[in-house]
């Protein structure tokens, strides 16, 4: 991790010194991670890929501001989160203007064509159940506001700290905490009927 940080710092210095190919190292190293964040935030591959590209373009343009920062990965992650919020807001307003009929499968459940991932579960019934649950989860995530979704993704999938989230949301720490709480609360309300806690109440500290 330290070695990656050092090598990132060298790549940044070389880029700033005019060696454009040095930036390639940073792009290739951090793209998959930024993609995971962007996909979880936007919910589709097309937008996620756009967020990734835009994040690195912005990072390149602002690189001189980064010069003294400690971690390039965290920095570009935050740029991506910032842009993804704008992208989601734009999408929401486009969707509101267009009032699209959601694509639906035979059961009337909305389908996100880009998010099918092969499931290795052998049982067709289980497969259907897990796919249904996945659809419920995608729908619940779509119901969150861009800020709530960003806060949730950064906190629970990205492991980001409150300050980092507050910076991405351009809000105070306490507002960011509140946004995280609201997002989880909404997801609970939407998903609890479909999610069964495993076994009885477990003791604290055993959760993953």
């Amino acid at each position: 991790m330290e070695a990656t940080g050092d090598s990132d710092a060298i790549a940044v210095e070389r880029t700033l010194a005019g060696d454009r190919d040095a930036f390639r190292v940073l792009v290739e190293r951090h793209s998959p991670n930024v993609f995971r964040l962007a996909y979880r935030m936007t919910g589709n591959q097309y937008d996620a890929e756009e967020v990734v590209q835009e994040a690195f373009l912005r990072a390149y343009q602002k690189l001189s501001q980064f010069a003294a920062r400690a971690n390039f990965g965290t920095w570009v992650y935050r740029i991506a989160a910032n842009y993804a919020i704008d992208r989601m807001r734009q999408r929401k307003s486009e969707d509101a203007n267009r009032e699209p009929a959601p694509r639906a499968n035979d059961d009337g459940i909305e389908v996100d064509a880009m998010s099918f991932v092969p499931d290795s579960a052998p049982n067709p019934e289980r497969l259907a159940q897990s796919e249904q649950l996945a659809e419920h989860m995608r729908r619940a995530l779509r119901q969150l506001t861009p800020a709530e979704r960003t806060a949730f993704v950064m906190r629970h999938w990205g492991g980001s700290g409150i300050e980092e989230i507050a910076e991405a949301l351009k809000s105070s720490s306490s507002a960011a905490k509140n946004t995280i709480f609201r997002s989880v609360q909404k997801l609970r309300r939407a998903l609890e009927p479909f999610v069964e806690p495993r076994g009885q109440a477990r003791s604290v500290g055993t959760e993953s």
């Binding site: 792009v27 793209s31 979880r40 409150i162 905490k177 709480f181 477990r202 959760e207």
Partner: protein, 278 residues
């Protein structure tokens, strides 16, 4: 304790350790809250299972192909160009600040001492040893003095930041822009001293300066005005690193080194330097 509310339980995993401990001990004895926490965890666990498509091993290369044609050319920096400011005049003013000039002067003195040491290292074995030892002493003393002063300024800034607080309970933001500006300056100096210490083989000093740099960067990158909660978090982060204590210890060590190095500077070949003692 009373039953934790939903917000406490949701924040349980990432919350502050003290609060987490209190909730954990309550939940261990309270079936109702344990069940509630289990339901929250079940939803979070289900969401964690939501897959993300694998973009492929060559994804980074594909991103590069897409963005490379859109990247503007960046002209190589020249010595007069600044790393982080497009405002040349402001930059010069910044670099000509007395403190920074002092830092550069210290490093320049070290370089000159090194040059002299090398220049006169040929004639005889005896004079070689003598002059090199003198140059080494000068280098070390200059570094010790300059870093000692730098640590003193850093300590003062950190103490002031540690003592900052809202004037009353209604104040929503605390202005720390002065500390932030000082941290920005100190970061530049610190980097210079850290690199010099490394070049001098003083890895212990370089290590402490590296830790200090991280804290200074944290302050330098904070907003000029922070909420009391943000300030509290920042103060806790600084306290958790124990940097103030380390800075004080190193400062004392440097004073000691300065005292012992001073009389020896005019003597020749008296010792092998005191690097890595901190």
């Amino acid at each position: 304790m009373n039953h934790p509310n939903e917000e406490d339980l949701i924040a349980y995993h990432g919350g502050d350790p003290a609060k987490r401990e209190v909730i954990a001990s309550h939940v261990a004895d309270c079936l109702e809250c344990r069940a509630e926490l289990t339901r929250i965890n079940a939803v979070l666990a289900a969401l964690s299972s939501l897959p993300v498509p694998d973009p492929g091993a060559d994804y980074g290369a594909r991103v590069w192909q897409k963005i490379a044609p859109r990247l503007p050319e960046r002209p190589p920096r020249r010595w007069w160009q600044l790393a982080s400011s497009s405002d040349l005049a402001a930059g010069w003013r910044a670099w000509l600040e007395p403190r920074r000039v002092m830092a550069w002067a210290a490093v320049a003195t070290i370089a000159i001492a090194a040059f002299i040491g090398g220049r006169y290292s040929k004639p005889t074995v005896t004079s070689n040893e003598t002059v090199t030892a003198d140059a080494s002493k000068i280098r070390e003393r200059v570094l010790v003095m300059a870093v000692g002063e730098h640590l003193g300024r850093s300590e003062m800034m950190l103490i002031e930041l540690g003592n900052a607080e809202p004037e009353n309970s209604k104040q929503k933001e605390v202005n720390i822009s002065t500390e932030r500006r000082r941290a920005e300056d100190l970061v530049q100096e610190n980097r210079l001293y850290r690199q010099t210490a490394l070049e001098q083989g003083d890895t212990a000093l370089a290590g402490v300066l590296d830790e200090l740099e991280r804290v200074l960067l944290d302050v330098a990158h904070s907003p000029g005005e922070v909420t009391p909660a943000q300030l509290d978090e920042m103060q806790q982060r600084i306290a958790a690193r124990g940097i103030l204590f380390k800075v004080r210890v190193v400062g004392k060590e440097l004073q000691q080194r300065e005292r012992t190095a001073a009389p020896a500077t005019m003597q020749s070949g008296s010792g092998t330097g005191e690097r890595n003692k901190i």
